[in-house]
C-alpha cells in the first residue's frame, strides 16, 4: 500500500528520498530570514555541543584560585566565576548538557506521546476516554508545579529530570497527535485499508501516521524549546541537576548574587538560554509555515 498519496503538501509529494527531503526542509527554512536565523542559532549550538570538549580550554570544574573573579580576557573569553572556573568552558559544556537532556527527554515524550495518541485516537471508546481523562488530569497542573512535585518524590538527579520532561510533555504530544488522528481516521483510504483486512499496526503506522508527521515535527521543535526552558528553570530553582554541573539555569542561580562583582558570569549563561530558546522557537515557526500546520 503506497503511502505517498496520503501526504498533504506538494513538496513532500515530489520528494524522492528521505535524506533529500530533510535537506529540502532545511533549504526552505533558510528561505525566510526569521527561520534562517533561528535554524542557524540552533545549528551553531548543536555544533558547539558536539565539538565542545575539543574547543574549551579548561574543564568545567577546574578551579584556578588565583584567577577567581577575572573579567573576560584572551585567557578566559567569558571571564571566570567566584571559584576561578572558566565561564566559556562551562557555557559550552552547558550547551551539550542541556541539549542532550532536553533532546532526549523530548524524543522519548514524542515517541511515547505519538504511539499513545495514535492508538487512543484510532481505537476510541473507553480506552480513549480513560487515557485522555488521565492526561487531562496531568495537564490540569501547571508544568512547573508538576515538575516540582515529581522531583520532590524522585529526588534530584539527571534521570529524574528526564522522567519529569517525559511525564510533563507526553500528554501534550499525545493530545496533539490524537486530534490529527481523529480528522484522518474516517478518510476513505483508511476505511479502505480496514476493509482490506490490514493489521492494526499497518493501519495506524502505515496509513494514519504519515499525515500526522508534519504536525509532529512542529510539535517536537516546540516541545524541545520548552524542555530547554524547563531544564534551565529547574536548575535555577536548585531542584534539578546538582552543582558543580554546568547547567545554565544552575549557573544563573549560583552567580546572580555576584552580579555586581562578576556580571559576565551571570550574563553569558543567560544569553545562552535566551538564544537557544529563541532560535528553536523561530525554527519551529518556520516549520509551521512550511508544513502549513495550525494555519487555517
Amino acid at each position: 500500500m503506497p503511502s505517498v498519496p496520503h501526504t498533504q503538501t506538494k513538496q513532500e509529494n515530489a520528494a524522492p528520498s528521505r535524506g533529500w527531503r530533510f535537506f529540502r526542509v532545511i533549504r526552505r527554512l533558510y528561505a525566510r530570514p526569521a527561520s534562517a536565523l533561528g535554524t542557524s542559532i540552533f545549528i551553531i549550538f548543536l555544533f558547539l555541543a558536539i565539538i565542545g570538549p575539543l574547543v574549551t580550554p579548561y574543564t568545567t570544574t577546574e578551579q584556578i584560585y588565583s584567577d577567581a573573579f577575572q573579567s573576560p580576557s584572551s585567557a578566559h573569553w567569558f571571564g571566570t566565576d567566584n571559584l576561578g572556573r572558566d565561564v566559556f568552558s562551562r557555557v559550552i559544556a552547558g550547551a551539550r548538557e542541556i541539549l542532550v537532556l532536553a533532546g532526549l527527554g523530548t524524543l522519548i515524550s514524542v515517541v511515547t506521546g505519538t504511539i499513545i495518541g495514535l492508538l487512543s485516537g484510532y481505537r476510541g471508546g473507553w480506552f480513549d476516554e480513560l487515557i485522555m481523562r488521565f492526561f487531562d488530569s496531568l495537564l490540569a497542573l501547571p508544568a512547573m508545579l508538576l515538575a516540582l512535585l515529581l522531583l520532590g518524590t524522585l529526588g534530584p538527579s539527571t534521570n529524574s529530570i528526564l522522567i519529569v520532561i517525559v511525564v510533563v510533555y507526553t500528554p501534550i504530544v499525545a493530545r496533539v497527535t490524537r486530534s490529527v488522528v481523529l480528522e484522518v481516521k474516517n478518510k476513505a483510504y483508511v476505511e479502505a485499508a480496514r476493509l482490506q483486512g490490514e493489521s492494526l499496526p499497518h493501519i495506524v503506522f502505515g496509513e494514519i501516521l504519515p499525515p500526522v508527521l508534519p504536525t509532529l515535527a512542529v510539535e517536537s521543535a516546540l516541545r524541545f524549546s520548552y524542555a530547554i526552558f524547563l531544564v534551565a528553570s529547574l536548575g535555577f530553582l536548585g531542584v534539578g541537576v546538582q552543582p558543580p554541573n554546568p547547567n545554565w539555569g544552575l549557573m544563573v542561580k549560583e552567580t546572580r548574587n555576584y552580579v555586581s562583582q562578576m556580571p559576565w558570569a551571570l550574563y553569558f549563561p543567560v544569553i545562552a538560554i535566551s538564544l537557544t530558546v529563541i532560535g528553536i522557537n523561530l525554527m519551529a515557526d518556520g516549520l509551521k509555515e512550511l508544513f502549513g500546520v495550525g494555519t487555517q
Binding site: P243, N257, Y258
Partner: protein, 530 residues
C-alpha cells in the same frame, strides 16, 4: 448575544449573587486602601516630643526574615529573637564582646561553692500594661522555662536548676544542683526573656518590659514597634519606633536597602555584602564570630569509622583556599574545633593542623582499603556559603581520589526528619554562641542530641564534662586545649573557617553595634539625624 441574555434571564439569582460579590470586592478593596495609611502611621504616632524628658525621633526600618514564633520560649531564628529582644528584657545580657552585662538584674552575687546566685532587680521597671516588675515575675518565667512537663526547648538547659525563689520584691535566688561556670551565659539564653507572672498566651499578649511596645503585628508582612515611654533606662530608647519588614529573600532585602525602603539589612551572604561596599549612604559592618560551617563524616560506620579515612579527608583539604574562595577572605581560618580564636584563652594553636598533602591522603586511603579511592554523597543545605564550600571541597578531595556527589537541599529537607544526623557526609552551619561549652555539649559528646558526626571518645567526653563543671579556670583552659588537640588528631570533623557577621545600615543612623548572633543586636542606643 441572545444566548447570553437568555442565560442571564434564566439564572437571575446567580447573576445577582455575582454582581453583589463584585460590589463587595470593590468596596472592601477601597476600604483597605483608605485604612492602609492608618496602619503604617501607627509606628509614628508617638514621634512627637510629648515624652516627659526626651524627644524620641525617627522610625527605623529593618529588613528581616519573616517571624513565625512570637512566644519567647519558642523563638529560634534571628528575626524572632530580634523582635523579642526589643519587646522584652533579659535578666542579664551579653555585650558585643561576649561579656555578661546587667539588664533587668542590677547586680548579683555568687556563693563560693558556685551553687547559689542572688540577683537584685532594677527599681521602677514596669510592664507595657503598667504593672510593676517584681521577683515573682522572674521566678514564674524561669519555672516555666525549666518545667520538664512543658517540653520547652530550654527544659534541658535549665535542668541543673534545683530551685528559683524570690525574696522581697526585688531579689531572686537561683539554687543549682551542680556548679555551672557558664550559668550566667545560660541565663542570657535567647529564650530567657522575662514575662509577666501568669501570662496565659505569650504568643499574642506581647506584655514585656522592653524598650519597645508592639503596636501592630501583620503576620508575613511586618511588625511595628513604638518606643516604650516608661522604659527603665533614662534616655532610652532614642528612636520613636522600629518597623521590622519581612523579606524571604536576602537579595531582595539588600535591594530594598539600596532603594531606601529599609534602613538596615542584617545577615546576608558574603557576595551580597561585598556588593554593598561602594554604595553611597550605606555603611557596611562586618565582625568576626564564633559561627562556623562544619564538614563532618559519620564515625560510627564505614568508611568514617577508620581513623585513616578521617585523616585522609583532613589532608586533602586546603583551608586557606576555602576561606578565600567561599568567604572571599572574610572571617577566620578554622582548626577543626568549635573553640575559635574569639574565645581568647580557651583557644589554642599548640597542635598544628595537617597541611595539605595529596600523596599522604591517597596513601592513607589505600591503607584503609580504598586503593581506588572513595565515592560518597555529600548533603548540603542550600543556605549561606555552604553550596560553594561543597563544590570547592569536591574539587580538592577529587585530587586525593575522594569522589563526592554534592546534593544541595532546602534547609527544610536537610534538617527535616533529622536527616542531617543520619547522612554519612554532611555540611552544617552552626550559629555563633558566646561560650564554647554549648557546641561540645550538644554536638561532640557521645550522647549529645545533635551529635551529627556520631563522635564518641572517652577521653574527649571526660574533658567536656570537666570543662563544664570545674570552677577552676586554669583547669578548664587546659581541658579546652586538650580537646582541640584530640579533634585535630582524630575528630571526624573539619571546620575550615569561622564566618563573619554582616550588616549594612543607612548612614543617617548612629549608635549601631552589631552582635555575632544578629538577632541579639539591640537598637536602644540607636538614634537618627533624619
Amino acid at each position: 448575544m441572545n444566548k447570553y441574555i437568555n442565560l442571564i434571564k434564566n439564572n437571575l439569582s446567580l447573576t445577582i449573587l455575582l454582581i453583589s460579590l463584585l460590589v463587595v470586592l470593590i468596596l472592601t478593596s477601597c476600604a483597605q486602601a483608605t485604612q492602609a495609611p492608618e496602619i503604617t502611621d501607627a509606628g509614628t504616632t508617638h514621634e512627637t516630643s510629648e515624652g516627659p524628658t526626651i524627644s524620641r525621633e525617627g522610625v527605623f526600618k529593618v529588613a528581616m526574615q519573616p517571624i513565625v514564633q512570637t512566644d519567647p520560649a519558642f523563638i529560634s531564628s534571628d528575626s524572632e529573637v530580634l523582635v523579642a529582644n526589643h519587646v522584652y528584657d533579659y535578666l542579664v545580657d551579653i555585650d558585643p564582646q561576649n561579656n555578661i552585662i546587667p539588664r533587668l538584674a542590677k547586680e548579683w552575687t555568687v556563693s563560693d561553692d558556685g551553687l547559689s546566685y542572688v540577683f537584685t532587680l532594677q527599681e521602677g521597671v514596669t510592664f507595657h500594661d503598667g504593672s510593676p516588675l517584681s521577683a515573682e515575675d522572674v521566678v514564674w518565667t524561669f519555672n516555666r522555662l525549666r518545667d520538664p512537663e512543658a517540653g520547652l526547648p530550654t527544659g534541658d538547659l535549665y535542668s541543673n536548676i534545683a530551685n528559683v525563689g524570690g525574696s522581697g520584691d526585688l531579689e531572686v535566688i537561683f539554687t543549682l544542683e551542680n556548679p555551672n561556670p557558664f550559668f550566667l551565659f545560660d541565663l542570657s539564653d535567647n529564650h530567657a526573656l522575662i514575662l509577666k507572672a501568669g501570662t496565659e498566651d505569650a504568643s499574642t499578649t506581647f506584655n514585656g518590659t522592653g524598650p519597645f511596645k508592639v503596636s501592630n503585628y501583620l503576620p508575613e508582612d511586618r511588625i511595628i514597634l513604638e518606643a516604650n515611654e516608661n522604659y527603665f533606662i533614662d534616655g532610652e530608647p532614642k528612636l520613636a519606633g522600629i518597623e521590622i519588614i519581612f523579606f524571604n529573600d536576602e537579595a531582595a532585602a539588600v535591594d530594598a536597602l539600596r532603594g531606601g525602603q529599609v534602613d538596615l539589612a542584617l545577615r546576608m551572604s558574603t557576595e551580597l555584602f561585598v556588593s554593598l561596599q561602594d554604595e553611597p549612604n550605606i555603611v557596611t559592618i562586618d565582625i568576626p564570630t564564633n559561627g562556623f560551617d562544619l564538614v563532618r563524616l559519620r564515625s560510627d560506620r564505614s568508611p568514617g569509622d577508620d581513623p585513616r579515612v578521617i585523616q585522609a579527608f583532613k589532608l586533602a583539604t586546603d583551608r586557606q583556599a576555602i576561606l578565600q574562595l567561599v568567604q572571599q577572605g572574610y572571617g577566620a581560618i578554622g582548626r577543626d574545633s568549635p573553640i575559635g580564636p574569639l574565645y581568647t584563652t580557651y583557644y589554642s594553636e599548640d597542635t598544628p593542623v595537617p597541611t595539605r598533602d595529596i600523596a599522604a591522603a591517597r596513601q592513607l586511603l589505600s591503607d584503609a582499603g580504598y586503593p581506588d579511592g572513595l565515592e560518597m554523597e555529600m548533603h548540603v543545605p542550600d543556605s549561606g556559603g555552604r553550596p560553594n564550600l561543597a563544590v570547592v571541597l569536591k574539587e580538592q578531595w577529587a585530587e586525593a581520589g575522594i569522589d563526592v556527589n554534592v546534593i544541595v537541599e532546602p534547609e527544610s529537607v536537610y534538617y527535616g526528619d533529622d536527616g542531617w544526623l543520619e547522612v554519612d557526609l554532611g555540611n552544617t552551619g552552626w550559629g555563633s554562641r558566646p561560650y564554647p561549652q554549648f557546641y561540645l555539649d550538644v554536638m561532640l559528646k557521645c550522647d549529645a542530641i545533635w551529635n551529627e558526626s556520631h563522635f564518641c571518645d572517652d577521653e574527649f567526653d571526660h574533658l567536656v564534662s570537666l570543662a563544664g563543671s570545674t570552677l577552676d579556670e586554669a583547669e578548664r583552659i587546659e581541658a579546652y586545649h586538650e580537646m582541640q588537640r584530640i579533634l585535630i588528631e582524630r575528630g571526624p570533623v573539619i571546620i575550615p573557617y569561622f564566618f563573619a557577621q554582616y550588616a549594612a545600615i543607612s548612614d543617617q543612623f548612629q549608635g549601631f553595634e552589631l552582635k555575632a548572633f544578629a538577632g541579639r543586636t539591640d537598637f536602644r542606643q540607636l538614634s537618627t539625624t533624619r
